[in-house]
């Protein structure tokens, strides 16, 4: 594998699907840099359908990303969209961050993988 071949991140949310899958290393430069990346997730949540964000494959997310993620959680709360996040308990930031996000939005459900 080339030294520069490693995929940084991906966000998959097929049209009509209620599940968004995030993967990789998410360390963009600012919260606003996540706007375009998280746009499909935002659209999903704004639809009002019960939504799932699977982040179990995200090994790292910087604080800008967590802030952007929190804005999605707050959006779901505002829109009364049922939101579930799928986490990997073996990845330290996920376990700790999601607990804090649930404190902000008690309606958030968290599933472990």
């Amino acid at each position: 594998m080339s030294l520069f071949e490693r995929e940084q991140y991906s966000v998959e949310c097929a049209a009509g699907s209620d599940v968004a899958v995030l993967r990789g290393v998410m360390r963009l430069a600012s919260p606003s840099a996540y706007d375009a990346v998280f746009a499909p997730v935002r659209t999903l949540i704004e639809s009002g359908r019960a939504s799932t964000v699977d982040m179990s494959g995200v090994s790292f997310m910087n604080s800008s990303g967590i802030r952007a993620l929190a804005s999605l959680v707050l959006l779901a709360k505002e829109k009364s969209t049922p939101l579930q996040m799928v986490a990997n308990d073996g990845i330290p930031w996920q376990k700790k961050t999601l607990a804090s996000l649930r404190a902000i939005s008690p309606g958030l459900t968290i599933a472990s993988r």
Binding site: R27, F60, N62, L74, P92, W93, T97, S100, A103
Partner: protein, 193 residues
């Protein structure tokens, strides 16, 4: 002579330049010097540098994967902070990481404006005494670029029990300040125990 101002929960001996002769000798140490502008030009350099530093030290922990993940997270936040808060991005910033028997010390150094340095120091002082969960919630609810201590430092305190301290040293005649941010984490937090 300029007098440094100290903020936060550390005794204030955190410095990117040296540690006192009577201080505990580190088991391991690594330092980097980098030009913030180069990181702005290619932001993945932050992550790559953080991963390198994390792997370097993770060898000393039982669960290297876990320790590496925690260390990379912490180092990346400090690197990002140093780049973002550098007022002159052509002036090299520094990172120095020291491993002790029971703790890791990570120090970043960058130059910034005296005003921003003071605001940052005040915010770190509040962080030392506030409820990090509440501060996290408040920060999430505030506009993204509010200034002061970023959500990254709040999270390091909240999630890893980090002690955070800041030393602000005026740079005479230049209208700038040198900011050393020191984050100290218990090795048990690094190992997830």
């Amino acid at each position: 002579m300029t007098t440094p101002r100290l903020f936060g929960s550390l005794p204030g001996n955190g410095s990117a330049s040296s540690h006192g002769a009577d201080a505990e000798r580190p088991l391991s140490e690594l330092s980097l010097s980098f030009v913030p502008l180069a990181v702005v030009a290619e932001w993945t350099r932050c992550s790559e540098a953080a991963d390198f530093v994390a792997r370097y030290f993770a060898h000393d922990f039982g669960d290297r994967e876990l320790a590496g993940n925690v260390l990379s997270t912490v180092v990346n936040e400090l690197l990002e902070n140093a780049v973002k808060f550098s007022s002159d991005k052509t002036v090299p910033a520094r990172l120095i990481v020291r491993e002790y028997a029971e703790r890791m010390s990570i120090v970043s150094r960058n130059v910034t404006s005296p005003r921003q340095a003071a605001a940052f120091g005040d915010a770190v002082a509040r962080l030392a005494h506030g409820d990090p969960e509440q501060m996290f919630a408040d920060r999430i609810a505030s506009p993204p670029e509010t200034g002061g201590a970023g959500i990254g430092l709040i999270m390091l305190r909240k999630d890893y029990g980090a002690k955070v301290g800041v030393r602000v040293t005026p740079a005479d005649g230049e209208g700038t300040a040198i900011v050393d941010v020191e984050v100290e984490i218990d090795n048990r937090e690094v190992e997830g125990t």
